[in-house]
């Protein structure tokens, strides 16, 4: 190429830099977006692959229903394919930290292997903070990037099983101190799975040195496979390497399972036999004991009887004795009474005599006294006489007196003698009386004595009697106590006998049960899982694939719009350069030289645009999108790769189409003669447009509007290009917003509108009716459950023609009430579909996958692979998973067996987390419940996943917005460029700036509005297309776009258009009127 031409080319770029920039930017945007979005999914997978490799994530994961013993491990290690085999433990426990309980999954960590690059150390913990355990009692907690609940370093965690079992059966101690926080490549997301303890949801994992576990067998075995590290884990090669290993492991599993089964069976049999022996012994012992007890009881009874008899005899004897004693005493008494009576009589007699005697005595005494008195008198007389003697001198007198005295004295002596005799007689009488009295006295005394003696004897008798009676009473008491004791003993004996027998019976029953169980012992089953069959792995892959799905259509359309515009720009440029081309041609340059300028221009713009687009796109888009996903994944920074395929593909298309456009344009120009080229291209003649025929409208239109109208239709190519460009952007925007609507809306639609229950309770398998009743009782009585319904939910293969898919078959207990729990309705009309016995109701996506419609017949495969025909009576709105609803009667008719309910859908009174946690905990305590799930939990996790997709959509919207801006800018630029002269002319005519602007912009605005309107229609289709391609099989996205999204998309496009107009206003203002004077070149 000639150097002057080269110079010209570069000057051209400089001169028309805004055009060059337009092409550059559009190509950069288109290529960058296409390549960047396309590369995101591979980049995500590469990043995950490296992460897995770096931390030696297992390729295979083995779990078994019975755990693994050393022999199992040896059998696995004998295989040649595994690079490393690492057995370990995992248990779900309750962890108490301070007052809070958390459900944790406790994993073992092989402390011997963590140093260095040991290949045996699989699922390596990534230390985020702190250190690894160094001494017993130390534990690692999950870092969880601060999102999952975890424990701080230094926290003392108390672990318990959450069941009846003792933690000491599992671990060496129950309290551990957190020393480090780790992540684990197995756990990409923040979901830790479900369990049967606590709230039913595992909150986080913890890792504990293997030595701390006391479990008899390993619970898990992790393997890495040779060569698997070298391939991308998400590629096909990975599965090609793993599949044969999986098969081999499953074979080993089968062999080991039967061996283990035999071992377990032997062990169990042995135990059973021992139990039987024990039972026999126990039975014998019981019999012995019972016999002895019986004998003892009999003996005791005999003794009691004997004692009683003796006691009665004693009593009788005693009574006899007492009676005879009493009789004797009574006789004595009678005698005594007789004696007393005699005595009384004697006394009376005596007293009668006595008083006579006393009277006599008194008379005697009185006589005596009178005598004595006389005596005394006489004595006195005598004395007087005597005394008188002295005075009586008369001797006669004296003798007479002496004679008198002598007589008196004689008389006196005689009186005295008489008195003495009286006295003597008295004395005798008195003595006699006294004697009689004495005799009486003695008799009385003797009676008294007798009386006293009798009394004493009575007393003695009484006390004896009393004593004896007391003794008898106590003896009786003793006896009755003895009886009572005996009765009790007998009762005890009976009870002991009963109990013993019952126990024996129970033991027998247990043995029978154990025997039954033994019969039922299932062979241990190994589950061999590939890495690609684990939850987080799949989840991440699904997300990456979802982005890929979004990337499947969208960027292509995006690139197409971009290229369309760059193509237009290039064509336009060649048109403008017409006379230049003519000049060069006239000067004698050959076609190639002339063309090369434009080809180079196009190539430079598109190549540089591609390079910048690729560099930015490959880096920025995966990073932005991946970082959005890192909110819900624990992963390192994204590894962005220069993806050669997409780079080549997108830039090739971009460069090719731009250059080809230039070439095509230039080729048609070059065909013409220089002379013709040098003359201005005949302006496109004006034409009447259809609208003018509609005189009513046309004649009413303002003049400038007519111009606009005619202009619009004059440049058909420009019109089409502009409208297509704008509509493309609007369509992209609408698709972006629509995607968001469709994806986000399904969560609330599915979980609020369609699922009207809040809680699903899963019962353990093969429940007896009584056991189910226990749960139902809870549901009936607990005030927190508003309503519930029993259902049977089971995975089933169904098909139509040669398509076969898996659905959840739901059979409610009561067809009429199912609507209260699950809305069955037609999506578009919102009409309720009722579940009848005529046929099944299928969820919409499933119907679509089966290409089935209402009225069609489909088949259900039963357990024996029989194809049972049913008719579809309704297709119901549903967004997540696939369901088929069937009435109970139909089920029984089709399957020929009764429905076995194992799930309860409940409506609760609250959706607060605390409420749900508490309810869940209580429910899980009921033995027959195997799992509890709340729709809020599921809907939250959906929201998280789909929320991240939001970021992708944001990226799309922003990119579409940017594209819209660039496209509009470019198209306006072309528009102004093409009409430069016209604009200059109307300026000369005296149009004010705003009039000039509106003269031009009116067209732009109309083009924008038409483009936008078309774009909204186009977007509707693009959205539908993207949705359908993006959808994964188990999910149906919403088909509707919210009205507001139409508004947003249209408003954004118009806003960009206005923005462009503002920018362009200054360009319009700068247009030089002198241009209008120049010749047309």
């Amino acid at each position: 190429m000639k150097s002057s031409l080269m110079k010209d080319t570069f000057r051209q770029i400089k001169k028309s830099f805004s055009r060059f920039l337009s092409i550059f930017l559009i190509v950069a945007l288109g290529v960058g977006f296409f390549a960047g979005i396309k590369a995101t999914s591979p980049d995500m997978k590469i990043t995950a692959d490296k992460y897995f490799d770096d931390y030696n994530l297992m390729d295979m994961w083995l779990i078994s229903t019975m755990g693994f013993d050393e022999k199992d491990i040896e059998a696995i290690e004998r295989l040649s394919e595994p690079e490393a085999v690492s057995p370990g433990y995992s248990v779900d426990l309750l962890a108490q930290y301070e007052e809070n309980f958390t459900v944790v999954k406790l994993l073992s960590i092989p402390m011997d292997d963590i140093e260095g690059e040991d290949k045996d150390y699989i699922n390596q913990a990534i230390l985020v903070e702190g250190r690894f355990p160094e001494k017993p009692g130390e534990i690692l907690a999950e870092s969880g990037n601060g999102i999952n609940p975890s424990f701080p370093i230094g926290a003392k965690i108390k672990l318990s099983t959450g069941k009846d079992e003792d933690i000491s059966d599992i671990l060496k101690r129950e309290e551990y101190t957190v020393v480090g926080l780790v992540n684990n490549p197995y756990y990409l997301s923040f979901e830790r799975g479900t369990t049967s303890i606590g709230t039913g949801t595992i909150d986080c994992f913890m890792m504990l040195p293997e030595e701390e576990f006391k479990l008899p067998v390993y619970t898990d075995v992790y393997l890495t496979v040779k060569g698997a590290r070298n391939v991308n884990t998400y590629g096909d090669d990975y599965d090609i390497i793993l599949d044969p290993v999986k098969e081999k492991l499953e074979d080993i599993g089968k062999i080991r399972a039967s061996e283990r089964y035999q071992e377990i069976l032997d062990e169990a049999n042995e135990e059973l036999n021992k139990a039987k022996e024990d039972l026999r012994e126990a039975e014998e012992k019981l019999q012995d004991e019972l016999n002895k007890a019986e004998k003892d009881l009999e003996e005791a009874k005999r003794k009691l009887d004997k004692g009683e008899k003796e006691l009665l005899a004693n009593e009788r004897q005693f009574r006899n004795q007492i009676e005879s004693a009493e009789k004797r005493l009574k006789e004595e008494q009678k005698k005594l009474q007789a004696a007393e009576a005699e005595y009384e009589e004697n006394l009376k007699l005596f007293n009668e005599n006595k008083s006579k005697a006393l009277k006599a005595i008194e008379a005697s005494e009185a006589e005596i006294k009178a005598g004595e008195l006389e005596i005394a008198n006489r004595e006195e007389q005598i004395e007087q006489l005597k005394a008188s003697l002295n005075f009586i001198k008369d001797e006669a007198e004296r003798i007479k007196t002496i004679q008198l005295i002598e007589y008196g004295e004689q008389e006196l002596i005689k009186a005295r003698e008489e008195i003495e005799a009286g006295k003597l007689a008295l004395e005798t009488a008195k003595k006699e009386l006294l004697e009689g009295e004495k005799k009486l006295e003695a008799a009385k005394m003797s009676i008294e004595e007798g009386k006293a003696q009798l009394k004493e004897e009575w007393n003695k008798l009484e006390s004896n009697k009393e004593k004896a009676l007391a003794e008898f009473a106590s003896a009786h008491r003793e006896l009755s106590e003895g009886r009572k004791e005996y009765q009790k003993g007998y009762g005890d004996y009976l009870k002991a006998k009963e109990e013993g027998l019952e126990e024996i019976g129970k033991a027998k029953e247990e043995i029978a049960e154990a025997e039954e169980e033994l019969k039922e012992i299932e062979k241990p089953k190994w589950y061999v899982l590939k890495r690609s069959e684990t939850r987080d792995y799949i989840d991440f892959e699904m997300n990456a694939d979802r982005i890929d799905a979004v990337a499947s259509v969208f960027p292509v359309f995006f690139l197409a719009v971009a290229l369309l515009v760059s193509l237009t720009t290039m064509t336009r440029m060649v048109d403008e350069e017409r006379s230049h081309i003519g000049t060069l041609k006239a000067l004698g340059y050959d076609k190639m030289d002339i063309a090369s300028k434009y080809l180079i221009y196009a190539a430079l713009a598109s190549i540089s645009g591609s390079i910048v687009g690729l560099l930015v796109g490959f880096k920025v888009l995966p990073t932005v999108i991946f970082n959005a996903y890192r909110i819900m994944y624990i992963m390192p920074e994204v590894i962005t790769q220069f993806n050669l395929t997409y780079a080549t593909l997108s830039s090739a298309v971009a460069i090719f189409s731009t250059v080809i456009a230039a070439w095509l344009a230039i080729r048609s120009e070059l065909k013409e003669t220089p002379a013709l080229l040098l003359r201005p291209k005949a302006p496109k003649p004006g034409k009447r447009i259809f609208l003018e025929r509609v005189t009513i409208i046309w004649s009413r239109m303002k003049f400038t509007h007519k111009v606009t109208a005619r202009n619009l239709f004059r440049y058909k190519k420009r019109f089409i290009m502009t409208v297509l460009g704008i509509s493309g952007c609007t369509a992209l925007l609408l698709t972006g917003f629509g995607l968001k609507d469709s994806i986000v809306s399904i969560v609330s639609k599915q979980f609020d509108e369609l699922y009207r229950y809040e809680l699903a309770v899963e019962l353990k398998e093969n429940q007896e009716k009584e056991e189910v009743d226990e749960v139902i009782e809870f549901m009936n009585t607990d005030k927190r459950i508003r309503d519930y319904i029993l259902v049977n939910e089971k995975s089933m293969d169904i098909g139509k023609g040669n398509i076969e898919k898996t659905v959840s078959l739901v059979v409610p207990e009561d067809s009429s009430r199912i609507q209260d729990f699950i809305t069955l309705r037609e999506r578009k009309s919102k009409e309720t579909i009722s579940l009848t016995d005529e046929g099944v109701i299928l969820s919409e996506k499933m119907a679509k996958l089966l290409e089935a419609k209402v009225g069609d017949e489909i088949y259900i495969k039963d357990e024996d692979d029989n194809e049972l025909k049913v008719r579809i009576t309704g297709i119901t709105e549903n967004y997540a998973w696939h369901y088929m609803y069937m009435s109970r009667d139909l089920y029984e008719e089709v399957f020929g067996k009764e429905v076995n309910y194992q799930k309860i859908l409940c409506k609760t009174i609250s959706t607060e987390k605390e409420f749900e946690d508490k309810l869940s905990e209580e429910l899980l305590k009921i033995d027959n419940i195997s799992s509890v799930s709340f729709t809020t939990g599921i809907s939250d996790s959906y929201n998280d996943t789909l929320g991240s997709l939001n970021y992708v959509i944001m990226v799309i919207i922003i990119a579409a917005g940017a594209l819209a801006f660039v496209v509009l800018y470019n198209l306006t630029n072309i528009n102004i460029g093409e009409r430069y002269r016209e604009i200059a002319t109307i300026k000369v005519l005296g149009f004010y700036d705003h009039e000039v602007a509106s003269y031009i912009y009116r067209e732009n605005m109309i083009l924008t509005i038409i483009g936008t309107a078309l774009g909204l229609v186009l977007g509707l289709f693009l959205h539908r297309f993207v949705i359908v391609t993006t959808e994964i099989e188990s999910i149906m996205f919403g088909r509707e776009i919210r009205p507001i999204s139409f508004v947003y998309s249209a408003a954004l496009t118009i806003m960009f258009s206005v923005l462009v107009s503002i920018v362009m206003y200054y360009r319009l203002k700068k247009i030089d009127m002198v241009e209008s004077l120049k010749s047309i070149d």
């Binding site: 000369v988 005519l989 009039e995 002198v1074 010749s1079």
Partner: protein
């Protein structure tokens, strides 16, 4: 007769980067109302600059330009637009018709924005295009297009009609008829018409001829007896 246009010591300097080009160097002349004036000079003499300044498309660097006693030179850009809008009719060398509008509509494009426009149809009739008013420029010959262009300028009912090489793109006969139209318009409507051309041959038809050379007024002469166009030959 009052001086309708008075140009006094007008200088115009263009700055092209470092270089200053003096397009007009202290030019002064005057034009009376209703005169048919021809400004003539070779390429690059500065006659287009004079036309630009007279037409309100450019402002002088120094000096003043009175039109109807208004100093146009001091006008702001907006005032200049108003000046162009109401006072000036412009006839371009290449007609500058809007291709997408019919002859009539092209005229209407101008009358739309005027205060006292003439009836576009009448004006078209005046320029002899009554039958072609609904044709698009592409369907018209060069002369016809120029007539439309003139009609567009006239319909605005301007005070001043400026014509930039109106015959430049036309053949001899057509050019003549266009000039005739301009001269007739001038006399019939008492309109001031200024024609800028390098064609000396048409000077005899002017009332006044201003010769420009190297940015200066070489001569300014009044033609007492203008010759009708029909009698001029070149």
């Amino acid at each position: 007769m009052e001086k309708f246009i008075q140009m006094e010591n007008v200088t115009k300097i263009y700055k092209m980067g470092e270089v200053e080009i003096k397009a007009l160097d202290n030019i002064s002349f005057s034009i009376d109302k209703g005169q048919f004036v021809v400004i003539v000079g070779p390429s690059g003499a500065g006659k287009s600059t004079i036309l630009n300044i007279l037409g309100g498309m450019d402002s002088p660097t120094s000096g003043s330009l009175f039109v109807h006693n208004e100093d146009i030179g001091k006008y702001s850009p907006k005032e200049l637009i108003t000046y162009r809008r109401y006072d000036i009719g412009f006839v371009f060398q290449f007609y500058n018709l809007v291709q997408n509008l019919t002859a009539l509509e092209n005229v209407e494009l101008a009358t739309e924005i005027c205060k006292n426009p003439l009836n576009p149809e009448e004006v078209l009739e005046q320029v002899g295009l009554k039958d072609r008013k609904n044709n698009f420029p592409g369907q018209l010959s060069g002369g016809e297009q120029q007539r439309v262009s003139i009609a567009r300028a006239l319909a605005k009912n301007p005070k001043l009609l400026l014509c930039d090489e109106p015959t430049g793109a036309l053949d001899y006969n057509t050019g003549k008829s266009v000039l005739k139209l301009l001269q007739d318009t001038c006399y019939r409507n008492k309109m001031t018409v200024i024609v800028v051309t390098h064609n000396l041959a048409i000077t005899p038809m002017a009332d006044k001829v201003i010769r420009i050379k190297n940015g200066r007024v070489e001569s300014e002469e009044i033609n007492e007896n203008p010759v009708p166009v029909e009698r001029i030959e070149w």
